[in-house]
């Protein structure tokens, strides 16, 4: 089976994000970059499906030239083909992103459709929750988000989504689109062989024109810092006093 995973380059989670004085971009000088966490797990899930059922994994990203690093990382853990849609340093809006991805997928499918296209549930940085759904609609394929389990059957895929205290199952006909959540599986580390393959890999470029939608960013801002007077407790008894005061005991 052929699987496509759409990924995004984002600053490593946990980093302190500082907005530049112009309010338009974030200060990236001290930031490391990674594949957005849900998508990192989607890549791993795709590689495992291919190990189980045969086939290959293609990764695609829309982003700055530096995003080639994330495509090569995906190759180092098992993807075989990589496609970059150059978009400069500034984020494209969700509609523009979806339109460009749809065009690039159409181009990549000239020799046959992907059985499965995986997205992350939402990107760690902009968190728009929509690009995958827009692409699925444009391609006329079914999609469910928030997926933590994928099983391939005969012409169908069974998807598991966690809810508060339980899980829901969905069955979609292939080809289908899936929004994956972190926790579906743990990403592997690249092997030495994988690293070598990723260095040699040919990253293809697909040029897509930017077709903006109806949402435009005006400015970014760091929310006001919460100033909190932390009460320092001296021992366990003081902690239990607090629990009593809060009426928890």
């Amino acid at each position: 089976m052929r699987i496509l995973v759409c990924i995004k380059r984002v600053p490593a989670p946990g980093a302190r994000i500082v907005v530049e004085p112009d309010g338009q971009t974030i200060d990236t000088a001290n930031l490391g970059f990674t594949i957005s966490p849900h998508e990192e797990c989607a890549v791993e899930a795709a590689v495992q499906l291919v190990e189980q059922h045969g086939g290959n994994v293609t990764v695609m990203t829309l982003g700055p030239e530096g995003a080639e690093e994330q495509l090569r990382h995906a190759v180092s853990v098992g993807a075989t083909d990589a496609i970059l849609i150059p978009a400069g340093e500034r984020d494209w809006d969700p509609q523009a992103t979806a339109r460009a991805l749809t065009d690039a997928i159409g181009d990549a499918e000239s020799d046959g459709a992907f059985d499965l296209i995986l997205f992350g549930n939402e990107s760690a940085d902009s968190g728009g929750y929509q690009v995958g759904v827009r692409v699925s609609r444009a391609l006329g394929r079914p999609m469910v988000n928030g997926i933590k389990g994928i099983e391939i059957g005969k012409g169908v895929v069974t998807l598991r989504r966690e809810t508060d205290g339980g899980s829901e199952l969905y069955e979609l006909p292939l080809p289908a689109v899936v929004g994956v959540k972190e926790g579906i599986t743990l990403p592997r580390y690249p092997t030495l062989r994988g690293r070598l393959a990723s260095k040699k890999a040919d990253v293809r470029t697909f040029e897509a024109g930017e077709q903006p939608g109806g949402q435009s960013m005006v400015a970014l801002a760091n929310p006001p810092e919460q100033v909190k007077q932390t009460v320092m407790l001296t021992d366990a008894a003081a902690a239990v006093d607090v629990m009593e005061e809060l009426g928890l005991l």
């Binding site: 929509q130 699925s136 469910v144 199952l169 969905y170 435009s216 400015a219 928890l248």
Partner: protein
């Protein structure tokens, strides 16, 4: 007019919806849609939250949740009543349904707004990075599709009269419609997302086995155990226990963070907690400086001591 989606699971209200209604009220007259007759019983309480009219959509494809049927029904209703805004809470389902509506209309959708300013172009402030960054944006569209960031605004009753309840019959085809075909219950009763007390552990806990003292502490108040991303990545806890931007969002009465440094990725998942108590060896850790209460020291000594103290006081 504002059309708000009332999120429910086979008749059980997602209480976060009421937060979205608080935002909707500020924008104009609010009507609501309940998708599926299983949720019809929820209509009564919506008047108190400022809803003037409730549309109960009924169709066999709405018997259980499905993003396509929910989105298509809402789109048809918004069109029929001339809504200017469709709004939902920014939950998994809320964001998913809104994205499907947006994709059908090829219209912009703004996820997780915390404020909305109507005008010729609408100004919104939305959260990025799970809440650690704010984005001011403009929306240009005849129908504005918005989800409201959970816990950004408190739900409140405004004591309005009982809402008028009217049926709505959508025209749906079952072709290409995805919906729940089966479900499993993993846990009964209190879960991470609803627990009044969460005892959470991070790198400082050190191993899967060491989480047993956190379990024991949580058991003292019928709480549940959560964890940071480090604990999940080390295989100490399942991902379903993870609190944070890519895990579960919690808002308990008390969040006890044991050996968690408090990276922003974790913080955004528990910042809605009413009170936070940090137990950490590092007095400079962000979790300690941002907590309401902090105990600086070794959690492997402090947590058992707290358990013992609770038992002593209870006799």
């Amino acid at each position: 007019m504002i059309l708000a989606i009332v999120e429910h699971d086979r008749g059980t209200l997602n209480e976060l919806t009421l937060q979205a209604l608080a935002v909707a009220r500020d924008l104009g007259d609010v009507e609501a849609v309940i998708l599926g007759s299983a949720g019809a019983g929820l209509a009564e309480e919506l008047g108190a939250h400022g809803v003037s009219k409730v549309h109960v959509a009924d169709h066999e494809l709405l018997a259980d949740y499905g993003p396509d049927a929910w989105a298509e029904t809402t789109r048809q209703l918004a069109d029929a009543i001339g809504a200017e805004v469709v709004l939902a809470i920014g939950s998994d389902r809320g964001n998913e349904v809104m994205a499907h509506i947006a994709a059908r209309l090829d219209a912009p959708m703004v996820a997780n707004v915390i404020s909305v300013t109507p005008g010729e172009d609408w100004g919104v402030v939305r959260v990025r990075w799970g809440g650690s960054l704010h984005e001011e944006a403009l929306v240009v569209a005849p129908l504005k599709l918005l989800t409201v960031a959970p816990h950004a605004l408190a739900a409140s009753e405004v004591g309005g009269p009982q809402a008028e309840v009217v049926p709505f019959m959508p025209s749906l085809s079952d072709e290409g419609v995805t919906r729940v075909i089966d479900r499993a219950t993993l846990a009964e009763g209190i879960t991470l997302a609803t627990a009044p007390i969460v005892v959470s552990g991070g790198r400082g806990v050190g191993s899967a086995e060491n989480f047993s003292i956190l379990e024991e502490l949580a058991d003292q108040f019928g709480g549940v155990v959560g964890c940071s991303r480090v604990a999940t990545n080390n295989g100490w806890r399942p991902h379903s226990d993870q609190v944070g931007q890519t895990g579960t969002r919690v808002a308990p009465d008390l969040y006890i963070a044991c050996g968690i440094s408090g990276a922003i990725q974790h913080w955004v998942g528990m910042m809605a907690s009413k009170k936070v108590m940090a137990i950490n060896t590092d007095a400079e850790a962000p979790m300690v400086t941002k907590a309401d209460y902090a105990l600086v020291g070794n959690l492997h000594e402090i947590v058992p001591a707290i358990i013992e103290e609770i038992r002593n006081r209870r006799g």
